[in-house]
């Protein structure tokens, strides 16, 4: 982006790598312990024997296959609803003038602040009232209207050039047509970024899913993971890390695959 001299370039490359290594350290450690027997948790010998027992042990501790399916359904459901509700609301805030706009937006921002964990008891009662306890929608519902998502999308929509909006209106696009054909495509990078954030957050969410679900058919992977996380008998890093890698692998791989598109979509959306 900014032209750099050779030294500059070297310093930057060096700095970015140093930081990357530091940042990747926990993951590297997780991989190390997961593929070695437990006695190498704290001994980093190059020739330590490799093993898969940690993964086997982790996999067998809970019906992970089913849990993965549940998690997948859960995050897809949440993401789809968040996109849908967030898009509509953000569009209203970004491009409409109407009475009550400030107050409603304040209420949306408020949701950024209210910790859903604190409202668990109340929300449990609501779910029971709707007879939704122990269902996947029950895990999803409190999160599908996301203040964060609305806020983020609104910011993005506000940067869409006004002429594009006007051109589309002149071409006869309806309000929803305008949103769908102009705003949404232009906000693609934001959707990607937000999607990533939302998926990783809900993939890893634990307490609420644990409390609202009772059966294997509804529980997400984190519940399986937690078998290792809290133990009386000391932390078994090798197994907990194997389980961690196993449960976050789809996310990590997803990001690895996505990051190219991620960057490309920025390029495509960017107006030269």
């Amino acid at each position: 982006m900014i032209h750099a001299s050779a030294i500059d370039r070297f310093l930057n490359t060096f700095g970015s790598w140093a930081l990357a290594l530091l940042w990747g350290l926990p993951l590297a450690f997780a991989i190390w312990t997961a593929i070695h027997p437990a006695e190498f948790e704290a001994n980093f010998e190059l020739l330590a024997p490799l093993t898969t027992v940690n993964f086997v042990k982790a996999w067998e501790a809970a019906p992970f296959a089913r849990y993965f399916l549940n998690t997948f359904i859960l995050v897809t459901l949440i993401l789809a609803c968040q996109f849908f509700l967030g898009t509509l609301a953000a569009f209203a805030f970004a491009r409409f003038q109407f009475p009550g706009r400030g107050i409603l937006f304040g209420l949306v921002l408020l949701q950024l602040l209210v910790m859903p964990d604190i409202l668990i008891v109340e929300n449990y009662q609501t779910m029971r009232f709707f007879n939704l306890v122990d269902t996947i929608p029950a895990i999803a519902l409190p999160y599908i209207a996301s203040g964060f998502g609305i806020f983020l999308l609104r910011q993005t929509f506000m940067t869409v050039p006004k002429e594009l909006d006007e051109a589309a209106r002149l071409e006869g696009a309806s309000t929803l047509g305008l949103l769908w054909r102009v705003y949404v495509p232009l906000a693609k990078p934001t959707y990607l970024a937000y999607g990533l954030v939302s998926v990783s957050h809900h993939w890893n969410n634990f307490l609420w899913p644990l409390i609202i679900t009772n059966s294997v058919e509804t529980r997400p992977v984190t519940v399986g993971l937690s078998v290792f996380a809290s133990t009386d008998s000391g932390t078994e890093w090798s197994v907990i890390n194997a389980a961690t890698l196993m449960t976050s692998a789809p996310l990590l791989i997803g990001f690895l695959l996505f990051q190219r598109q991620f960057v490309q979509s920025f390029m495509r959306a960017g107006i030269k």
Partner: protein
């Protein structure tokens, strides 16, 4: 453009989101506020109206003041650091450096990994004696053991390090997105005008990133009061509350002590504080940072 039809459209667009917001956030939150004026219902004792008694208890509660102070230090320590690191990361990742994909991946992993698992890994790093940091320190400098988490003077700082590590990659994504939308011709114009990297950054890039900085800092403020998952594993708030934060204390009060009324009171305080900080921040700067 303020015509009736527009209002109706806008309200229709907002309706679905608002229904869910109200059902799962605002109504429960209002009930929380109401709860803060009642005593906790225990099976044998009904909840009764106690007025401001819970607030009185709060003022007299040394733990509350302790965790509040901790939280302020925590915010001061983590917000600027994580934002600055995120910005640097984004600038680096936005350039065509060797191994960019790997670097981007490395920066982003903390966002993807579940915090409980990550906390366990950091627990290992911090462990005295055979933990990674001590191994490195002993290997390099032959110093003794460091009990980072077990020492009240360092526990909070150790937790802050984990938080910054967790947050920076998350914020980086937003800076990265913003950087990509800066028209290249602006940077070219600045380069032609003889501006070096430093000047370009401070006079062009940084101001153009202001909307993102606002967004990120609002989130950072909120997160500094919200990210407590790792406390459960790393320190449990100890030693002697040295690393306890407000939300952690609320969580303990609500889900360990089951004193819902007092927890509600603490929550109200937290909400009021955050609203003042975050919403204030937002409304104050929103106008200033949008040029279009």
């Amino acid at each position: 453009m303020t015509r009736r039809i527009e209002w109706v459209h806008a309200w229709l667009l907002l309706l679905p989101a608002m229904v869910f917001l109200f059902t799962f956030t605002h109504l429960p939150a209002v009930r929380t506020i109401i709860d803060s004026f009642f005593s906790t219902a225990r099976g044998r004792r009904k909840s009764v109206f106690v007025g401001l008694e819970n607030y009185q208890q709060l003022i007299d509660d040394p733990t509350f003041w302790k965790v509040l102070a901790n939280n302020l230090w925590f915010a001061l320590g983590t917000i600027p650091t994580s934002i600055a690191i995120a910005l640097v990361m984004a600038l680096w990742v936005n350039e065509k450096l060797a191994g960019r994909s790997f670097i981007r991946m490395a920066y982003f992993t903390p966002t993807v990994l579940p915090l409980i698992a990550v906390a366990n890994i950091w627990l290992f790093f911090y462990t005295p004696g055979f933990g990674l940091f001590d191994q490195i320190a002993t290997g390099l400098f032959d110093t003794g053991q460091h009990n980072f988490l077990g020492n009240p003077d360092t526990a909070l700082a150790a937790v802050m390090v984990v938080t910054v590590w967790k947050e920076a990659g998350f914020f980086m994504i937003f800076y990265l997105a913003a950087l990509q939308t800066i028209p290249p011709s602006l940077l070219e114009a600045a380069r032609v005008e003889g501006a070096g990297r430093w000047t370009i950054f401070w006079r062009v890039v940084f101001p153009l990133l202001m909307p993102t900085t606002l967004f990120v800092s609002v989130n950072a403020v909120i997160n500094s009061f919200r990210l407590v998952d790792h406390l459960f594993i790393l320190t449990g708030g100890g030693p002697n509350n040295a690393s306890s934060l407000l939300l952690f204390y609320i969580y303990e009060t609500a889900f360990r002590f089951w004193d819902t009324a007092y927890a509600a009171t603490l929550t109200v305080v937290l909400l009021v504080m955050l609203s003042l900080l975050a919403i204030g921040q937002f409304f104050l700067f929103d106008r200033k940072v949008h040029y279009k």
